[in-house]
């Protein structure tokens, strides 16, 4: 029953597209490097302006982008519809929960059968409706979810309220990461911070990295899943996923905000993190399932560890990783 719905949406997405715009989209993708055209010209001029600054963002010292907040506010009620707009995110739990769980278990822990993450405090940045906070809570961790969109936090609380296991372990707050890190600095520190499908919506990544570092214990883990900034990711994640197949609501992603693993690594390592692993993820729209892959050109997951202060003094510039593997 689930599969027929998925297929139906796929078919509808394909049929809903008119011939002209399909041709137009493909032309755009194909001719991107040589020509400028109405839809992207504006972006290109903006990009040229920002060329002298880091990444595709202006340094605004706040992570929150008001446009993004508004967009997610409109979608707040759709979070928990497993076959709705956020279906791909629900499916991504099959990859990201084991990713977080296994990497945390590797940091030699006592075995708690049935509650592998018991005793760990995890911060879920940009938790949305709590799609990732809830499974981590079920695995025994104490999860704090933060999101600037109030409606999302409300939905998350509602959903977790019924479950006696989650009520005690998962709590949500409508605030930004900066606000939290200002309050929490030195007081409570987390064993892990998870920022899944978040950094591509943020205004300033440096601030993000600094705040993460503040709220993490030394040796704590940072987990990020996001999209790479490549031609392929433009073609698949923006053109195909948003405009053709409607896997993701239109306008969700801004390609300029995507970041490559190498860039992200550089950014994190200059803020006191050491990247442990990067792994590519691939979405199959026909089956609606994600899988791991060696290719990080579209989606990828990254695990970094906050260096202790002594180790930080001795760490040098990054560059030990193969560029070829991340391009």
């Amino acid at each position: 029953m689930m599969y027929s719905n998925k297929l139906g949406r796929l078919m509808f997405g394909l049929r809903g597209l008119e011939a002209t715009s399909a041709r137009g989209a493909f032309q755009r993708a194909a001719a991107r490097s040589g020509f400028s055209w109405a839809a992207v010209r504006k972006q290109r001029t903006l990009w040229q302006q920002r060329m002298h600054q880091t990444g595709g963002r202006s340094a605004v010292h706040t992570t929150v982008d008001p446009g993004e907040v508004k967009r997610f506010q409109l979608l707040a009620n759709k979070w928990w519809d497993e076959e709705g707009e956020f279906a791909a995110l629900h499916a991504m739990n099959d990859l990201r929960v084991p990713f977080v769980r296994d990497n945390l278990l590797n940091v030699q822990r006592e075995r708690h059968p049935g509650q592998p993450l018991a005793g760990l405090r995890i911060l879920d940045v940009g938790c949305g409706g709590g799609l990732l906070s809830e499974p981590l809570g079920r695995l025994g961790a104490t999860v704090s979810g933060v999101d600037p969109v109030e409606d999302s936090v409300r939905i998350a609380r509602l959903h977790a309220a019924h479950d006696p296991d989650l009520r005690d372990r998962v709590s949500y707050r409508a605030c930004t990461l900066e606000e939290l890190s200002d309050e929490e600095q030195g007081v409570t520190q987390f064993d892990a911070v998870v920022a899944s499908e978040v950094v591509e919506h943020l205004a300033d990544l440096d601030t993000f990295a600094i705040c993460c570092s503040r709220v993490l214990k030394p040796g704590g883990s940072l987990f990020i899943t996001t999209l790479n900034k490549t031609n392929l990711s433009y073609a698949l994640a923006i053109v195909v996923a948003e405009q053709l197949l409607h896997i993701v609501p239109r306008g969700t992603h801004d390609w300029e905000k995507f970041i490559s693993p190498v860039e992200l690594e550089r950014l994190l390592e200059s803020n006191g993190f050491l990247v442990q692993s990067v792994q590519g993820m691939l979405y199959n729209p026909l089956s609606g399932a994600w899988s791991w892959t060696n290719n990080t050109e579209i989606n990828y997951a990254l695990h970094a560890v906050k260096q202790d202060d002594e180790a930080e003094a001795g760490s040098t510039t990054p560059g030990g990783h193969n560029e070829a593997a991340h391009s």
Binding site: W80, G114, P135, R154, A161, D163, R167
Partner: protein
């Protein structure tokens, strides 16, 4: 049914309602950003379990035990609801019970995984090494055995012993696994689909004593007339065979090694003799309702004569069939000279156990869906077969093994146990295994229900050919042993 007590409301100045369908005021409070903490009276009244299993027969209690022993599910609250009383067996009774099952090696593995198999072997169980199946209308026969008769093919165990052994294991489980005996369910309330956020998302179970329980996953193991399945409105393909099974405990004329299971297909239905010990066997005679009633009314001597002649007499043979059969055999032995097996005759019966003749109707059934949102069906609730292949409970134990594995993985990935994604995997895997088996059994039943010449010729040839192909027999045994 829900008692809305005013006391908690009076105590709590915010005036919250209990968590039932109407908890909109709780929603308002959450909206104001306060965390909704559970009133202690509320949670004791409607406790939320992780899994409730409805039905404590062989399959239901094995499911409870299996889930309780899984390391990834440790700490999860599991409840087994059984309408009958607790089956304790401190001493194995001297007389055999009439309801027995053939436990395949795969089921034995599951039972030993939950620690019940050890108990069963200590109490009473009879392994058998060979099975002979032959036709009443011709000479065709087929025997199944493991090579060299060293390994056991399967085990005959009384149903009561299986349940008692599993009950003993359940007693020893930690307190997160509970069993409620003498609790009959009167009502199920199904949850709304997940994106209707205002209502309780759990399955609600109402017992006869007025207690209400909530669960994240309901497993229906309540037998062929499953209430869970009916209340869900799951379309079921089912029909009653116009057959009933007569069961009895037989005393053999003389003690023998008795490690062979015998089954003969009469035109009225198959008659089977399953070994229980060196001197006793269990009878399962599937025949028309009319004949079954007659058999029950016969006196002991005539009943015994009927059984012996059913196994031994050749009155259904006709010349045509005998000649054809001989021809087939000749042809096949020319192709495969070394194959084939000698015909053996079953032991003769001298007496029956006192007051041990019972009959029950037979039918077949298959639920078109094994799962719904937060519900899964296992055992006879999902599929019901003819006893002629001794597979009924083994299919159920297979369901238990599969569902336990899938729920264990889901829990390790932090998933909501009642989520439909992994329940669909269970359904697919089990339907793929069960449907071919059920179809084959039903086909066999129909094929052997007649003594019309064409059908007899077909099955004679088929049976003889299969008997001569060791690889095919191995495949059949492997499939049935899972």
């Amino acid at each position: 049914m829900h008692k809305l007590t005013k006391a908690p409301l009076a105590l709590n100045g915010l005036g919250r309602c209990l968590i039932t369908e109407k908890h909109l005021s709780a929603v308002n409070i959450i909206r104001r950003g306060l965390v909704c903490s559970e009133n202690r009276t509320d949670s004791s009244k409607t406790e939320v379990y992780d899994v409730i299993i409805s039905g404590g027969g062989m399959v239901g209690s094995a499911m409870a035990c299996s889930l309780g022993m899984d390391p990834n599910l440790s700490g999860k609250k599991i409840l087994l609801l059984e309408a009958g009383h607790k089956k304790v067996m401190d001493r194995v009774p001297d007389t055999y019970s009439t309801r027995v099952s053939s436990i395949s090696p795969g089921s034995a593995t599951l039972l030993s995984g939950i620690g019940a198999w050890e108990q069963i072997t200590r109490m009473r169980c009879k392994p058998y090494k060979r099975m002979q199946v032959w036709d009443a209308c011709s000479d065709a026969l087929i025997t199944f055995d493991k090579e060299d008769l060293l390994d056991e093919m399967a085990y005959i165990v009384e149903n009561d012993i299986v349940v008692a052994a599993i009950t003993r294991q359940l007693d020893a489980m930690p307190e997160n696994v509970q069993v409620k005996y003498k609790s009959k369910v009167v009502k199920y309330t199904w949850p709304m689909p997940h994106h209707a956020a205002e209502s309780i998302p759990w399955v609600k179970v109402t017992l006869a004593n007025g207690e209400t329980l909530q669960t994240k996953l309901l497993i229906g193991a309540d037998g062929p007339n499953s209430m869970v399945r009916q209340k869900l409105g799951i379309p079921t393909v089912k029909w009653n065979y116009d057959q009933s099974a007569v069961v009895a405990v037989l005393h053999l004329s003389e003690p023998t090694e008795n490690n062979v299971a015998w089954q003969r297909f009469l035109p009225t239905g198959p008659i089977a003799m399953l070994p229980l010990s060196d001197t006793e066997s269990s009878l399962v005679w599937s025949t028309s309702h009319h004949l079954a009633e007659e058999l029950l009314e016969l006196d002991e001597e005539s009943f015994i004569d009927a059984i012996n002649s059913a196994f031994w007499s050749n009155e259904n043979h006709s010349d045509l069939i005998e000649t054809a059969g001989a021809l087939f055999r000749g042809a096949l032995s020319a192709i495969m000279p070394s194959a084939g097996s000698p015909r053996q005759l079953p032991p003769s019966v001298a007496g029956i156990g006192p007051k041990s003749r019972v009959m029950f109707p037979l039918g077949v059934g298959h639920a078109s869906e094994y799962i719904r949102h937060r519900v899964a069906l296992i055992g006879d609730a999902a599929h019901r077969v003819h006893p002629l292949a001794g597979q009924g409970v083994n299919l159920g134990f297979g369901d238990v093994a599969c569902l336990t594995h899938i729920l264990s993985q889901a829990a390790f990935n932090g998933k909501d146990l009642g989520a439909i994604q992994h329940l669909l995997e269970y359904e697919t895997e089990r339907q793929r295994h069960n449907l071919p088996m059920m179809t084959a059994i039903d086909l066999m039943k129909r094929l052997y229900s007649t003594n019309a010449a064409p059908a007899v010729l077909l099955r004679t040839f088929g049976l003889q050919a299969t008997n001569m192909l060791p690889t095919l027999k191995e495949q059949i045994m492997a499939y049935a042993s899972k």
